[in-house]
């Protein structure tokens, strides 16, 4: 298996031990730790899983290189940071407990951290009202927004506006 990283519609920033990626298509920001960053950078369609594992062992001193590489590919795939053609890594999957036994738990625990970027309106200050939900305040569908406002938004970011 020779995974290929996605490159289009991404903003990438490299930090000394981490990689930050903003997905313009999905409005999600990802933080890759050193192991996931190294795997992602080398997903060029010419590097195999065993080569990635070797790099993790040699460059980051991770003994469970193959397991961590496999898990990293899985996490990157879920975060949509690999080309869709790169199928999930074959072979056994490891739980966090199993990774702990193999000595790679700390690295595996935070391979990829993701947030959904909030739309600007979700950052508005809430205008509190006594009898209804005021402008800019968080709401759920069916809640009673003040006259002239509706509870609208994307995903979990619904506000009266």
């Amino acid at each position: 298996m020779f995974p290929v990283r996605r490159e289009e519609e991404l903003v990438v920033r490299h930090l000394p031990d981490e990689t930050l990626i903003y997905d313009l298509k999905r409005n999600k920001a990802h933080c890759l730790n050193s192991a996931a960053g190294l795997v992602w950078r080398h997903c060029d369609g010419q590097t195999s899983l065993s080569q990635l594992a070797k790099m993790l062992r040699e460059e980051l001193d991770i003994p469970a290189g193959e397991q961590v590489a496999r898990l990293a590919l899985d996490r990157l795939q879920k975060a949509k940071l690999l080309q869709p053609v790169a199928v999930a890594a074959e072979g056994p999957r490891y739980s966090r407990r199993e990774m702990a036994k193999l000595g790679g738990a700390a690295v595996a625990a935070s391979l990829v951290t993701t947030i959904l970027a909030r739309p600007a309106y979700a950052q508005a200050s809430c205008v509190a009202q006594p009898t209804c939900i005021g402008q800019g305040c968080a709401c759920n569908p069916g809640d009673h927004c003040c006259p002239g406002f509706q509870c609208t938004g994307v995903g979990n970011f619904k506000t009266c506006r």
């Binding site: 903003v11 920033r13 930090l15 000394p16 031990d17 981490e18 990689t19 930050l20 903003y22 313009l24 409005n27 920001a29 933080c31 890759l32 730790n33 951290t113 947030i115 970027a117 909030r118 739309p119 600007a120 309106y121 950052q123 508005a124 200050s125 809430c126 205008v127 509190a128 009202q129 006594p130 005021g134 402008q135 800019g136 305040c137 003040c146 006259p147 002239g148 406002f149």
Partner: protein
Amino acid sequence: MRKIDRLGWAAGLSGMAFGLRIGIRVNKPEVLDSLESCLPPTWEPTSAPIVERLYSVVAGGNAARPNVRFYHLLYGGSARLARTLVLEDVFAALESDLQLYVAEYARRRVFVHAGVVGWKGRAIILPGRTFSGKSTLVAALLRAGATYYSDEYAVFDAQGRVHPYARPLSLRTQGSVRPLRRRAEALGGRTGRRPLPVGLIALTGFRPHGRWRPRTLTPGRAVLELLTHTVSVRRQPDVAMTRLQRVAEQTRTVKGIRGEADEMAAALLERAEEK
């Protein structure tokens, strides 16, 4: 928009804030005086006839006939932003939208929803959502001797320094719907004027009897947390990431649950002094 233009406008004002030209027009001149408190900090009046964002305030009130009242209306461009019988609600909606517009579209600045104080020449940033207790914590820090910068936005420049966004603090009290507005000086603090480098970023959430035992975040995770509260993140993610990366690499970011604001203020000031 043409329909709104035809409503008949009696007075207006225009100004610049953070590089944006903004206009407000009203149908009753006496309403104009009340608008001053809604304007963002750094507002500079101009006489420019062309603006990027135009607000229209229609003051309703009682009609000539008994038992008839007209709604007060607020438009931002052609979109209706508020329709209410309480004029103060129009002002609150105007202030909220105006702040958000400036924060999203400001030129050369990145706005992060956060409280900010200055302490020994460096800024302490307290990112948080609305109703997360930012202003309460900022007020406690002012009482402990810190300098006021903002209870709403941390405004970052290209060097990663924080500029003041010093509107009066908006303090919510139990039993009162509308927040109390207090100037920093009324709380025993001073207002900062010059930009500061960042000394500490503290992400906190209030929990009754909570104990402040923070963990330090890596720079990457710190940027992620700041992006969560960045107003223009969807519009200019590359600019926001570059600025916030610079900030996070130069400073320490801690995260944890906090208890009462006064205890937390002392702990924060102590941590801000650590090298």
